[in-house]
């Protein structure tokens, strides 16, 4: 009986000791390139799995009632862009601001806020899910991105839309700190994907991305670029900034944020 007890205690202590080793081992494992790449492979499964369903039927994200709108909608990331370009535009009430749509398109566009507001619009009350775990509900009004693409006519080689933003969230001197995002054409043409200029019935406030932000309702918040200046149709994003297709993607987050 006594011998058994010692064995059990030894087993328990052994397990605890081993778990400590395992823990520091896991940190190292996670930083091992090959292993990290293996972990990242799960993103392909999530994207492939979800697209099997999302491609065929293009389902809409749930839309909510006005009474569901969050009283406080947390603004994350940049809330006060301090680049010279942005400050100058903001001082003038975005009167001189123009959205550039170019890259692999047949008809590059340059649009003012008034021109955007005169286009067909969509208003939707949707849930914003942050990668951190919280959710807020807000009402967004804007031009369907699909409508803008119909005007600009992407070339057959275009695979992604690249959103260039005015804020330098990374705080770096070079452009690697500038916020940017990419989405593919499946999400770009989704009816709920809009370039929003209004939130909860008001002009889009600065902390939420004035004058124009992207809404991609079937993905997480970090995909929804704020302070958008330019939309570029591209066939590849591996040469842009750190090459992962977005500001947060360059910092380890998944490019496909539908999960």
């Amino acid at each position: 009986m006594k011998r058994e007890l010692i064995t059990r205690r030894a087993a328990l202590l052994g397990t605890l000791g081993a778990s400590g080793l395992v823990l520091s081992g896991c940190d190292q494992l996670g930083q091992n390139r090959t292993f990290a790449r293996m972990l990242e492979a799960a993103e392909k499964l999530s994207l492939g799995g979800q697209r099997l369903v999302l491609n065929s039927s293009a389902p809409l994200a749930r839309e909510y009632a006005k009474s569901d709108i969050s009283r406080v909608f947390k603004a994350n990331g940049t809330t006060r862009p301090d680049t010279d370009v942005y400050k100058r535009l903001q001082m003038a009430g975005f009167a001189d601001w123009r959205l550039q749509i170019d890259g692999l398109v047949n008809k590059p566009l340059s649009l003012s806020l008034d021109e955007l507001r005169a286009m067909p619009s969509r208003t939707q009350i949707t849930r914003h899910d942050c990668v951190e775990g919280w959710s807020a509900i807000g009402e967004w009004t804007g031009v369907p991105l699909g409508y803008l693409l119909m005007q600009a006519q992407p070339k057959p080689t275009a695979k992604y839309l690249l959103f260039r933003c005015a804020d330098n969230l990374g705080g770096t001197r070079d452009e690697t700190g500038l916020y940017y995002e990419t989405i593919d054409l499946v999400d770009a043409y989704h009816p709920q994907t809009i370039m929003a200029y209004a939130m909860n019935g008001q002009t889009l406030p600065v902390d939420h991305g004035a004058p124009l932000r992207l809404r991609v309702e079937r993905q997480l918040g970090y995909k929804m670029a704020k302070y958008v200046m330019r939309i570029e149709a591209v066939d590849d994003f591996s040469k842009i900034a750190l090459g992962k297709g977005g500001f947060w993607e360059d910092r380890g987050y998944e490019w496909y944020a539908g999960i």
Binding site: Q50, L54, V72, G133, I137, E217, Y253, I259
Partner: protein, 298 residues
């Protein structure tokens, strides 16, 4: 098969599984199939990685809400946070409902690797990675979530096809009638011998059924409900769980129940004989302790 013999005396059961004898004369039965053993250990690995990376993810928003929405300024049913002090180190608070507990050192505030107070919800010793990284925590979580789901699917299919569920896990009527005695046995830490040790007792059966068919599937479903992509195609998930934030809360509660299960499970393994139990889950062979009433058989 088990049902047919359920009301007979246990001696009448004729185990169909291969048996042999240990050198000490104990009867060895082949208890766990290769599929059960493999999926069990893959599950162990997935459980720990998912739990620890899950706590890393939780630390990014250490609050739980109920309903369709919920953020920092919204009401929470659980919140773990640090309160800075003008004089002295910060205090770690854990709020559950309207109750608030000082959990400094454990939750909310603890010493980091270098001994400095760190204001995070779960201790670095139990998160994966140990340092703060939501991005890496998510990478671990989703890779092992896929592994866990595939492994679970293999287990479920195998369990029905090989009649593991019907034969070993479904309680018989006699089992259910004697549930009171089984509870008493557990409380007295008494473990079955002889014929009775060859099968799961009723509490074991019910627990495994609840874990495999209720709790683990709930983890997957509530996890999927947090995915904005998945719920756009499956609104009903939002309705079942009462919204994305409720699903997140249920994910956390069910994970806690699984931790409780694993604790009891491991304690039972230690009590029942760690060598024999480990051998049976590794090689399949389980030694039956002879029934005292049967006397010592050669």
């Amino acid at each position: 098969m088990a049902v047919d013999t359920a009301d007979q005396p246990t001696q009448a059961q004729t185990p169909r599984r291969p048996t042999r004898l240990t050198r000490g004369g104990k009867e060895l039965i082949y208890r766990h199939s290769i599929a059960v053993r493999l999926t069990h250990w893959v599950n162990v690995l997935c459980f720990f990685v998912l739990l620890m990376s899950g706590m890393q993810i939780f630390n990014a928003h250490p609050m739980l809400h109920w309903g369709i929405k919920g953020a920092e300024t919204d009401p929470s049913i659980l919140s773990i946070y640090a309160e800075e002090q003008l004089d002295g180190p910060p205090i770690g608070w854990t709020q559950i409902g309207s109750a608030k507990f000082n959990t400094t050192g454990w939750l909310g505030v603890f010493r980091d690797r270098d001994g400095f107070p760190s204001g995070r919800a779960f201790h670095w010793r139990v998160t994966l990675p140990s340092y703060q990284s939501l991005a890496e925590g998510r990478r671990w979580h989703f890779f092992f979530a896929w592994l866990f789901a595939i492994n679970g699917l293999i287990y479920l299919i195998h369990s029905f096809v090989a009649r593991h569920v019907q034969r070993d896990l479904t309680p018989t009527r006699a089992d259910l009638r004697n549930i009171g005695r089984s509870i008493l046995d557990h409380l007295k830490l008494k473990h079955p011998r002889g014929e009775e040790a060859k099968r799961y007792n009723v509490l074991q059966k019910l627990t495994y059924l609840i874990v495999a068919f209720v709790l683990l599937p709930l983890m997957i479903l509530t996890g999927l409900t947090m995915s904005p992509g998945v719920v756009s195609a499956a609104h009903f998930l939002l309705d079942i769980f009462g919204g994305r934030q409720s699903a997140r809360t249920i994910h956390f509660i069910v994970a806690s129940l699984l931790v409780l299960f694993v604790l009891v499970h491991v304690i039972e393994v230690l009590l029942a004989g760690v060598f024999n139990e480990m051998r049976s889950m590794i090689t399949g062979w389980f030694a039956v302790r002879p029934d005292k009433s049967e006397g010592n058989k050669p």
